[in-house]
């Protein structure tokens, strides 16, 4: 399978790899996917509670090159946007930007879900209403 140059670039030089303290009230964490499916994305954002601007974003992804590229791109796109703006990011825009083939569209869907899940987590911490996250972050079982 041939990868687009943009996928290769994100794979080789992933942006914003890492973790933010997940107990920080201003950090929202989204963890989506499942190891059995071959894709797990963790996306974290630090949000300024006054301005609701996403000041920092970090990710870690277990998955194929397209999954890594989709989440790396997602962190680039959310940084500097407000929560409301970030919620409008659509998976189709990721597909377009990275030239993902049809078999890899699920990677972009997962990235969109990760953004929504992270923001839902942030809003939950702040006692706000849940945005319409299609996939809430899973919690460890007891």
């Amino acid at each position: 399978m041939a990868y687009s140059d943009k996928v290769l670039d994100h794979y080789k030089n992933p942006r914003n790899v890492g973790s933010l303290p997940k107990d920080d009230p201003n950090v929202g964490t989204g963890l989506v996917g499942a190891p059995e499916c071959g894709d797990v994305m963790k996306l974290q954002m630090r949000i300024n509670p006054q301005t609701e601007v996403i000041e920092d974003a970090k990710f870690k992804t277990f998955g194929c090159g397209s999954a890594i590229a989709s989440s790396s791109l997602a962190t680039e796109w959310v940084k500097g946007r407000t929560v409301e703006e970030a919620l409008t990011i659509k998976n189709t825009e990721i597909v377009k930007e990275l030239n993902l083939p049809p078999v890899k569209i699920h990677c972009s869907v997962l990235a969109e879900d990760a953004i929504k899940a992270a923001l839902a987590d942030y809003r939950k911490k702040h006692g706000q209403e849940q945005p319409t996250a299609s996939q809430p972050a899973p919690a460890p079982a007891d």
């Binding site: 399978m1 990868y3 794979y11 992933p14 790899v17 973790s19 963890l31 989506v32 996917g33 499942a34 190891p35 059995e36 499916c37 071959g38 894709d39 797990v40 994305m41 963790k42 870690k60 992804t61 277990f62 998955g63 194929c64 090159g65 999954a67 890594i68 078999v103 996939q135 809430p136 899973p138 919690a139 460890p140 079982a141």
Partner: protein, 406 residues
């Protein structure tokens, strides 16, 4: 010596043709181009002689008689001919076939096909080592059983089934025994007499011969086995496989067998040494790597390992100057991880992280060391990127997590 890139380490998929094989084949494209079935001129005689020599070379490698070798287009056709051919020929005797969950698709899909024609097929499971249970096989045999089809060496994990015991059991119950020996022949000793094999599928391109040529071994005595042909026509190959013989490829196949027979003992030892070196060096630098399938009962050139927390396709992407293959779903069109690993009970999470290394005649120690270096570097980098590795290191039990799945 400078390393030549990319490195090929996927010898279960196919092998390069040995230069000695190419050399043997060449005259049969040009000067000696005759049809082996032409009985009345020297062109035909020469071709026929070349085919018969090849038949002897192939038979000698598997301890068969030359007349028991039926040329086909490859192991897929041989598997089809064995199963469909026996099913049709022995229809009066019974309608039950026994096979195994981790067979190659050429066997599994052929069995699925004959099921549609009213045959019954039992698919034996394997244990976590990838081996069948002989007692289970014994219990599966019924008075209606006409064929047991169990491979010798598996194409993904290289695991070797207890072929001698299976052969004995089949003989005891007067059931025909077919084995897909594609990955084994030319790599490790294979003896149709010792193993009581009645039918065996072979392929040239897995043993440094050309693609598009293979054979089905069909036993001629004790018992005399017959298969109905898939392809009708001029009655070539004792009526079991019509079609003008592919003389240059048959010559190449024969030469490949002669070389294998000569060099197998040293080659096995050399490859086992390199393969063990590969695993030892990976283990020295990386934690949490798991060998899939039995380590003791395995082809000497196979290594199939899961690198926990690193998805297979992303690993392949990182080692793009090394040709290996992965059991990850992302490398297949079906988005399902390897059915072979699944049958062993390897969790889908680990199946997604599996890599198959297939060493071969032209693999060098420098190549092995380079591959180790690249794999270690890439796995380490991708683990830094993996939320699962991070969570595992924090002590989170990934198995007890409630993952949101579609």
């Amino acid at each position: 010596m400078a390393l030549k890139l990319p490195i090929y380490m996927d010898n279960h998929a196919t092998t390069p043709v040995d230069p000695r094989v190419v050399e043997a084949m060449l005259p049969y494209f040009t000067n000696q181009f005759g049809n082996a079935a032409s009985r009345n001129h020297s062109f035909g005689w020469e071709a026929e002689q070349a085919v018969e020599t090849a038949r002897e070379q192939i038979a000698a490698l598997i301890h068969a008689s030359p007349k028991e070798i039926i040329f086909t287009s490859g192991a897929t056709e041989s598997d089809n001919l064995a199963i469909k051919g026996v099913a049709e020929m022995y229809r009066e005797k019974g309608n039950h076939i026994i096979t195994m969950a981790i067979e190659h698709k050429a066997v599994l899909d052929t069995c699925k096909r004959v099921e549609k024609y009213g045959y019954q097929v039992s698919y034996l499971p394997v244990n976590k080592e990838g081996l069948i249970d002989l007692e289970e096989l014994r219990r599966a045999i019924t008075p209606k059983t006409i064929l047991i089809s169990i491979m010798y060496a598996n194409n993904e994990i290289g695991v070797l089934q207890p072929i001698e015991e299976i052969g004995r059991l089949a003989k005891e119950h007067k059931v025909l025994f077919h084995t897909d020996a594609t990955q084994a022949v030319g790599k490790i000793p294979f003896d149709v007499e010792k193993f009581n094999v009645d039918l065996a599928s072979l392929s040239a391109h897995k043993m440094y011969g050309p693609k598009g040529i293979g054979a089905l071994y069909v036993r001629r005595r004790n018992p005399r086995v017959q298969v109905s042909p898939l392809i009708d026509g001029g009655g070539h190959e004792r009526g079991m496989r019509s079609g003008t013989l592919n003389v240059p490829s048959i010559v190449g196949f024969g030469k490949a067998c002669a070389i294998a027979r000569e060099e197998m003992p040293q080659e096995m030892e050399r490859l086992r040494g390199l393969r063990d070196r590969l695993l030892e060096r990976l283990r020295a630098k990386l934690d949490e790597i798991y060998v899939n399938g039995s380590w003791e009962r395995r082809l000497p050139n196979n290594l199939n390992v899961s690198f926990a927390y690193v998805e297979g396709e992303s690993l392949l992407m990182g080692i793009n100057d090394v040709a290996v293959s992965s059991g990850s779903a992302c490398t297949s069109a079906t988005l399902e991880p390897s059915y072979v690993l699944k049958a062993l009970g390897v969790g889908e999470d680990l199946a997604h992280t599996s890599i198959r290394f297939g060493l071969g005649r032209f693999t060098t120690q420098e190549e092995v060391d380079y591959v180790v270096e690249r794999v270690v570097e890439t796995v380490s980098r991708l683990r830094e990127l993996s939320p699962l590795y991070e969570m595992a290191k924090e002590g989170v039990d990934l198995k007890s997590m409630q993952w949101k799945t579609d």
